[in-house]
Symmetry: D2
């Protein structure tokens, strides 16, 4: 069972390779009569688009989305929504030297082990280009979620440099090209990135995604818990090596009374005094903010020479040219937001099915 679909009720399927004619996504399960225009999707694609700052790959893609089905007179019809994005700035020659050699830290080796064949042009199916389709699906998911649910992603750490939570400013996130909510840290990251790039290297990062306005009751114990699906969603993003919810790994250090969020009554409604749970208890949303963090490894496409082997098993040394991001964590921000939106939309529909008619 191939794995190019995600979700159960809100379910999307992506296809396409980095240097093929196009990439695309089919979103099935979208309720009818939701207004949807290409611009609704384009808006989010533009945030992820490469070539927008000196800190991301210089590949230039318009990433213009076309709606091919499922929308009629400006509204969804309940039929599958097919979205297409053409590949334009394709330079496969840049990659021809990796045709026979496995780049360390890349999927080249494993794709060959698994399939015995590999579309090596630009990383083929394993390229981060696929994430544009996730962002497109996420844009549709946001329409399903409606205005009340707000999803916000940003970087909280790059290399050793974490943001200062006391300086957290939501408005700052869109003011710098690094999705950094802390202006001062943003500057230090820029310096770090220039240094990293100069050395032909790359650097890891941690992304945080927060969803507010989520109603309590979303999540399906005991295997499709909301946090379990979020973990899968985020870990499926290229280069992600860890996912945590709320207090996350720090919870290991806590005592029970430090960790459990107390509940009081405020304005006649349940109110939690803290959110170490990250908005999820027993796999079900509490109504608090859903807080997810994920770690993105440094891209393995670097100019530093590394030892490796080729398809015939011969030892080689490799330097990965091509146009790459010094910190793929940056462009992972809109992707993480999109996956959050898709998971929430899916569970919103799943909950509707069992709630009173």
């Amino acid at each position: 069972m191939a794995g190019n679909s995600f979700g159960t009720l809100f379910r999307f399927t992506t296809w396409g390779e980095s240097h093929g004619p196009a990439i695309g996504v089919v979103v099935d399960g979208v309720p009818p009569r939701i207004p949807l225009h290409e611009s609704d999707i384009q808006h989010w694609l533009d945030r992820r688009r490469p070539g927008q700052s000196r800190f991301t790959t210089q590949r230039r893609e318009a990433d213009r989305v076309e709606i091919l089905s499922g929308v009629f007179a400006g509204f969804t019809t309940g039929a599958p929504i097919s979205l297409l994005i053409r590949n334009e700035d394709v330079r496969s020659r840049d990659y021809s030297d990796i045709q026979e050699v496995y780049r360390p830290g890349h999927a080249d080796f494993t794709y060959d082990m698994k399939y015995g064949i590999r579309d090596w042009r630009g990383g083929g199916r394993a390229s981060a280009r696929e994430t544009a389709c996730r962002v497109a699906a996420g844009a549709v998911a946001r329409k399903v979620l409606g205005e009340r649910i707000r999803i916000r992603g940003y970087l909280v750490q790059m290399g050793d440099l974490a943001i200062d939570r006391d300086r957290f400013d939501d408005a700052e996130i869109d003011r710098n090209p690094l999705f950094c909510p802390d202006a001062e840290t943003a500057k230090r990251w820029e310096e770090l990135l220039l240094d990293v790039r100069k050395q032909g290297s790359s650097i890891g990062a941690i992304v945080e995604v927060v969803a507010s306005g989520v109603p309590p009751g979303l999540g399906e114990p005991v295997y499709d818990k909301l946090d379990a699906d979020l973990a899968k969603a985020m870990m499926s993003i290229n280069a992600v090596k860890g996912v945590e919810i709320g207090a996350g790994f720090a919870a290991a250090r806590l005592r029970g009374e430090e960790n459990a969020d107390e509940i009081v009554r405020r304005e006649g409604r349940p109110h939690f005094l803290s959110n170490r749970a990250g908005g999820i208890l027993g796999g079900i949303s509490t109504g608090q903010d859903i807080v997810v963090r994920f770690a993105v490894k440094p891209t393995s496409s670097i100019l530093v020479p590394r030892r490796t082997i080729d398809r015939l098993g011969r030892e080689r040394e490799i330097v990965t040219r091509g146009r790459h991001d010094p910190c793929v964590g940056i462009r992972a921000v809109p992707v993480g937001e999109a996956m959050m939106a898709c998971v929430l939309a899916d569970h919103l529909l799943r909950q509707r099915a069992i709630a009173d008619g």
Copy 2:
């Protein structure tokens, strides 16, 4: 779509509440002609069984498994395997005071929000008792995987105390009741646990699970990547708040050349010089050890009084009596191993389907 099933080809469904007559699991998709006896399953259940040391809940359950179907003359038949475990030591009175009150950090509140009804006896479906079914399914999965694939779990951290990797001794894991691979740390944890228990508190932990002997090629990009499915599997375990693969969150601090595992040739075969990838690249197994860690929060069933509300929204204070684990991370070890086994068995069958006939 309710979420009580896990896996696609190797697929199991669990049912049962903590204080109901029994719990059970149906495992579908097991290939035929695999030898399987109740003792094969009992062996692993016994490792998870409560009441075995002073460091786990004093509830006493024999956890004796019965095979009700799918096995004939000692071999699997290809039909679904139904496994049943009766609940014996049920003391629902212990829980009657939580019938109307939401324990902080527990699923009481969210189950009520979601379902509008809740089997409050012993935590009902949200109880860690359900994990016995995971262990049973995992035992079947191990038979599918065969002898070559070995799965090993242990604690690497409790509270602030991490093991010393230099003292790592595989044989030590089964010698202490804490699944600790470092004898010296085991002693310090015992002291910590006695202290925690005396205070009526609880403590978090980090579990590591390693699978060796896994062939390269397992995992289905781009959504059912091996690491994505492992993340979901582990995050679905009660009290887990974070999952990481290989270098995990530490990868955020690394440069590309530090992170990418170099490949050389050893004895005619590909050999990786390190394993920061945790045995997975591009969502597909490399043939190296699969390394997963997950963080377990401190259980919220504590004797320290905490503020909360009841079903009518009134503010209350609560102390959770009953028989609880001071560190649920301990008994999460066999559960994590079982989930690893199930994910690998599933992907082994999935890979078989597309490999040459």
Copy 3:
């Protein structure tokens, strides 16, 4: 991917062999707060139960159902509902002579081809005994559907003898042991069955199942159309060889103007002047009665000697002793009703998910 589950949102999984200790079903996806008692399920099991008349197998099973999970204080909780039925009247010796020989028309040969192993006792997993689990799941489905949706099955043909639609009397169905809605035909069928039994033979039949009160809008084009799922549901029942909706095969003989059901306005609502569509257009319910028919072959367990081979490929002659139904179509009636209920419950929940919240 093994196939022991049915449905998507209302999803059940059955397990168990004819002569194992028990059979059972786990129903997942049942909305919470629906009243459910064992007697609700027992009622329908009793209709299917063998040994009730001289026209069905003389195997005597109480078929007493136990609810093991998912129900609390008389209401569903949203957790999976596990139902267990013990096998009591098991006489495996009756079958020992078929251990090595493939009964013609039975699944003996194909199970061996597929699995290389076979639980030959009483037909194992391929036994019609499995259908008790379908009936149990169907009983739960009926509770999900509520009182407004009524499902009714009956025999319309046995051998060459069809009922006379002019004598159709709904009340008659439960008055005779053959689920026959036409008293006169019922008598002729009884004679036919006595003759068939005397000859050690068996006879085929056609079952019709009608659901009334179904709201328009159920069914998910273009692959999970309501009729497509009904076709799968009915064809999956043992011994079924054909399924049709509304006019069915007779539609092949019609002209467009004869076939299309005209619509008028009656009491302010849409009213169809006929129902050749069988209540389904474009795979979606119209609000008219859903009408399904399926053909049941004569059981292959007969006393007439037949040529066959054994596991070693040697030619043999076989007579199938044991306790069998002369017309398995009779007991297929409650099974067909149950499958209709399950398909409708599933699609009701699926439609809820996309309808306005």
Copy 4:
């Protein structure tokens, strides 16, 4: 859960409306290293293509397929295969009069009941145009099945006129535009069609699809039986009202000894003396020919005036203009073949997963 996907391991998802910019299909789960060219798919699309004879709709579509992903250097890569077919000859004005009126026998009414919105242009998603995507997916499925499995469809009945099995000539099927295996009957059908067309009417038909060379062992009891999946596959095709396997509905008239296919030994192998089972026993293929028949209703797009209502519930009379097939059964032949191929490919992969590695 929307229903635009079919299959489990070999799984395809279709999208697109009759008068949108394009239609398409994403096929996921195709094993790698299978040679695949656009011409392999075009070949089968050309058989289904409209406008090829005077007996099908005069809409002219080149139906030229483009492979957008999943194929590299002429071979499948294991990645999803995206196929696109542009809509060219779109005349939506023909349909503008049905914008507000429900055509009897069509899905207009039910789509509005279900979704509250409807792409009325050319039937939108409910149009038979969608079946081109099935044929494209079927072409890929045939490549997965390989040369040994041969699938052949043809008409066996139109209106009251059935073929004479004694005149069955496989070679004749491609010689006439009606997929008729009996030259004499083909002529009578042509006369019938001219008459039907002259009267502005339409006529039903029965299609038979036979697969030979299918290995024994395919099919997954007890819900994903091979016949159950075939029933669903065929019933999901536009206008199909009945499906049968082997003897089908005629089995209802038979005695056990007439129905069960005897087995003997021929040339050292099992040999069935008849094939009333249609190649399937217990839901698993026997190795004999798989024989499926399905009934196609007469299209409801006719020039004969019919009573109906409009969206506001007002009574209307309608005549459906536009370009339609007098017998949609004809073009259902390649579609039925394609669905057979897809079901078999899916079950071939499913069986591989549990067979010895």
